[in-house]
Symmetry: C3
Subunit: 471 residues, 3 copies
């Protein structure tokens, strides 16, 4: 049995007719606005080389740990899907066979954001009109794989078709940014910028910290084994990233801890860290101090600071050993912000030159900590519902729980935060629809006039991300 | 004044006409499915002896701490209701007088799940058509008490009338399971199975631990004062429980902590515990180690493992002294899963032979910890909204907060978890209605087609519990 | 551009027609009930002197940290608004100019409770019919400021117009309560009572603790440097407050910790505290012990006890230094109740003479801790959604998350908790509308009959606060 695939024009709007009509009108005002994607993980080489994507499996399944984690949770092995192993090897799997496994299990995604994004891609990008299941697996594989070899499906063609005004990738300070340079050199008009993500050189517990630090020194010519040289190296790379378009830094720490040590203590802590002798508590303190140092640098270079805390990375030890990082085994942690951010805020919290964008994987902090903090400190803004929470329900909770203390104007619009390039329009569309549905409810309940809601909808979809990220 | 009692056919469905119509259609597909009750606390002697229940008060009020805790919270004493005391004595209360107290306070339950369940029982099981209040108290008492003496209201007759396909009770390893045996011997077709709940012999802080341990040795003939003998005793009793129908174990610990100690350390810890010298931290570590030992045994005997953590039992010291356990003074605790489960998961998390079903009383973990864990690990599944959270609102939150990362297929359908036998159909009916309402919203908002929603509704009501519990 | 200001008669009611009709009918039953305001922060001198309020800015902007914190979060300085500094000085700002700044930023409040309350005041109290923005700033300022000079806008006239049956203010034990006395002496019929809030004399970490303690001794004539004298001083002031109408005490501690130390230990701890040598842990223990002492006193004098825990006060160090307390920089903290309250509950939890009303800024405790506690202990009741959570969404969450375990009857109706006198009718109106909307949903989903919902609505709006606060 295969049945029709729909992409209903009213999807995600409340069923109540009054509210739906308002949501529809609001959505009409924002549906066609350009996409601003200030935080994500697409690969700049796609846009630099503009080489066609290989096939359906390599494009949509293998890199998307949102997708294969669900299959894995129901007993599908990563080898069956051809996911690369940590040692670079890979099970000898026909990509078409892997796609069939995926198709056979597609019902697992019912109701999840993955199913919404994927169906949007199937319908809008590839023109498919039957649902994906075992019976349509081959049709899907063929249609998608063939399309990808055509000129309209190259990365740059899709970028333009998607109406992306600007997209940010995320790179480590050790990256040469050659792809970003070659995009600029090519004369192509697409705006692909980078963001400064220093995790490997600021996290003493990162498995590559020693080698990353060494490379950091080689690239910058600084003696990064002294505190001053290390900080100078950061300033230098931040300047370079800025020249390559960066307007922001990104910090993915286990917690939101910040510190503001006296210079001598910071120096001593750094010495301990570079000697490789840091205890877990010292490693935590070091990362905490780095956030404050980064804020200090932002005052000078104007880079917006993103803090993405609260994830236990690579929780599945066996899977990590065999397949390495980013295999769908990252799990959110309870996260505290009020005490954690105070050292940084005591130093810079009232300085209008600093923009700090806070994210969370702990929704219990929305109304309790984050909205009250952002609703007071001029430096603080709230990033959107993130990662495990970017489903329609999660986005709705974000608005419901941040509105009272934070309002709309201490939030910054949407981040797609994805490496699944084809899903970017789907993700922004979902965010715009949910914001319009939420605003529609406020209008229907007479808490806001419709002209105000239009204004807010456009702010959330377009103006606020540009302003918050200084784009 | 007494007014009509209603049991509206559309109860619990959203008021919006479009969504309600869909919910109704979905519900029609599941309303008559047999009840699968894989976790609960009914008394197997009811079905073994098939003796009639005594009267309204003894059946509906005295054993139901959901009900009398609410009366107690508003100043009704337990003696007034005839609740037995810890010493076995009991205030000299006419059960009819106790029922009148209950009736006079029935408005306290407005909007609560207890009122829904009780009204369902009053209406459907006993055919009552006036609301319970002071003026109808005697009518209720008489009607119910008289009915209970008739053949259609014996435990077995109700079991059949309720269309229960299988029900699990919960027993300690010290139980003889004679009632389960006598049900089998009787030739009656009702399927009443047990579940292995070892709390008294695995919790060093249980007040009966020393005597329970001694009895554990007597029953099994093992030297349970050695670690190896103790583990063999568990294996033996698990086998026996399995022969008496058990397909699962159940673990009600204060936290979700697991441990994976080297055998020598486990042995030493056990020695400390049996000598009665365990500190609270050692007791916690011992319970944590036991969960991992139980998982190891499940690999061999195939019993599904249920973890029910996070309750502060018998919080009211004065009440506990006077009336003993289970008097409505259990209070949920903040509960952590990500670090807590890692030792067990590091050892067995990827082994497809193991099914672990996780429950929580801390709803903040649904989206943050539990759905991400279950949406990754092949061994992990999520039990339904539990205990304090099995109201319509709590069930709705469970779905809204687990769907994005866990989908529907890492959940396992409904548990009624009750000793209130007559309320079992009411409870399953509420769960089915809420799932249909939730799915109806997804269909109305064009996130799923209706045929898919039908499939999911049947999975949640019937197929998933059978599969998850290996029934 | 300026556009019409609306105050729609159906505001805050769900858009679904069936539910809205029910909500409307319920609201009709409660809309005109007198206001009972058992907890708040209005200034008793307003009612004692009945002097006119100065102007729009002094009345509506300067004292309302809900309002100016939002402006501050978007870069408006407190000096621009004329907020007084800690040293008593004040930027030389024309109040009309400050009002214009406020008007220019009024869009920041879209969707927030502040905008609802303010628009209600503008529309109902001052008859304004255009929205506040830059173009209408002067019209607003003039209209409001002029009205305030007229007899209908004096504090007492407004009190009567607002149909306030009773209002409680909050005072420290060091206050003379002269304004309360003079209200009584004046013969005016308005009932303005006090509440006993001993923070400065019970919190060793309060910056005024040493001087407050000294003054406490002077006022009471007790030797407050001995434990017994100190406790006698409390009893004496509580009696005095009670004579001035108080029916409650109020305790704003950082956590909900309670303690029940043996008398000797309490005495020793007190000695350490008064010598100024308390560590943070000892200060916390002292505050914890005080809660239990206050409960003991409540058994004798019958004052209802309010516990308002979980706020990090004055989080912004720079702002605190320059502008002092209560400048919008209070941030909620994660709060634990189950272990924290046990010492007090072990001692008094079953005593019907004691009413303890619990509040929280940590919504994750509603369903997990607070509703289960209040749904069991006869002494415990739940205060309404508080402070950061008194928006429509927060009130709705409160009901949704406390109903199952606590019902409606372990809650106590609404507190406006405000110093923004003019917004009091608006705040009560919002609470009544949300409760009617919530009840309307229960009726529409056939969980309660409409006559029951009417009864509950009246209880929540009027009867329960009077009963819980013994008014």
């Amino acid at each position: 049995m295969s049945t029709a695939l729909h992409l209903h024009e009213d999807r995600l709007f409340p069923s109540d007719a009054t509210t739906r009509d308002i949501a529809r009108r609001l959505y009409r005002e924002v549906a066609a606005l350009p996409i601003v994607s200030p935080h994500g993980h697409t690969d700049p080489s796609w846009f630099a080389t503009n080489a066609p994507f290989a096939n359906a499996t390599e494009l949509l399944l293998v890199p998307d740990h949102y997708v294969f984690r669900m299959l894995y949770s129901q007993g599908v092995s990563l080898d069956e899907l051809g996911i690369p192993r940590a040692d670079g090897s890979r099970a000898n799997v026909d990509p078409r066979a892997a796609w069939r496994v995926f198709a056979r299990h597609f019902h697992l995604f019912r109701g999840t954001p993955s199913s919404m994004w994927l169906n949007h891609v199937f319908y809008e990008v590839f023109g498919l009109r039957q649902r994906l299941d075992e019976s349509t697996a081959d049709t899907y594989y063929n249609r998608i794989t063939e399309a990808l070899q055509t000129a309209q499906f190259t990365p740059r063609a899709l970028f333009e078709r998607f109406n992306i005004e600007v997209i940010a990738t995320t790179e480590s300070p050790l990256e040469s940014l050659e792809h970003h340079q070659s995009i600029v050199d090519s004369g192509w008009k697409g705006r692909v910028i980078t963001a400064y993500r220093p995790d490997p050189v600021v996290d003493p517990e990162h498995e590559q910290f020693p080698s990353a630090l060494q490379r950091f020194g080689e690239i910058t010519g600084e003696n990064v084994y002294t505190w001053d040289g290390y900080l100078r190296a950061h300033r230098q790379r931040r300047e370079f990233f800025k020249r390559m378009g960066a307007t922001s830094t990104d910090h993915g720490h286990p917690s939101a801890a910040t510190a503001n040590l006296p210079p001598d203590e910071a120096r001593k802590l750094f010495d301990t860290v570079v000697r490789g002798g840091a205890t877990p508590a010292q490693a935590e303190l070091f990362r905490a101090q780095i956030l404050t140092e980064m804020a200090a640098m932002s005052l000078d270079d104007g880079l917006v600071m993103q803090i993405h805390p609260g994830c236990f990375r690579n929780h599945n030890a066996g899977l990590f050993d065999r397949y390495g990082r980013d295999k769908g085994a990252d799990i959110p942690l309870r996260t505290e912000y009020v005490h954690a951010l105070k050292p940084l805020l005591d130093r810079f919290g009232n300085d209008p030159r600093l923009n700090v964008i806070l994210f969370t994987l702990d929704e219990s902090t929305y109304s309790r900590e984050l909205a009250p903090l952002a609703g007071h400190y001029p430096t603080l803004f709230l990033g959107p519902a993130w990662w495990f929470h970017d489903a329609p329900e999660g986005m709705w909770r974000f608005r419901e729980q941040t509105l009272a203390s934070g309002g709309f104007y201490n939030t910054i619009g949407f981040n797609d935060d994805t490496r699944a390039f084809l899903s970017i329009p789907a993700r922004h569309d979902v965010a715009r629809r949910i914001d319009c549905a939420f605003l529609g409810k406020l209008v229907a309940e007479h808490r806001m006039d419709e002209d105000e809601a239009v204004d807010v909808a456009i702010d959330l979809a377009y103006r606020l991300p540009k302003k918050a990220y200084r784009l």
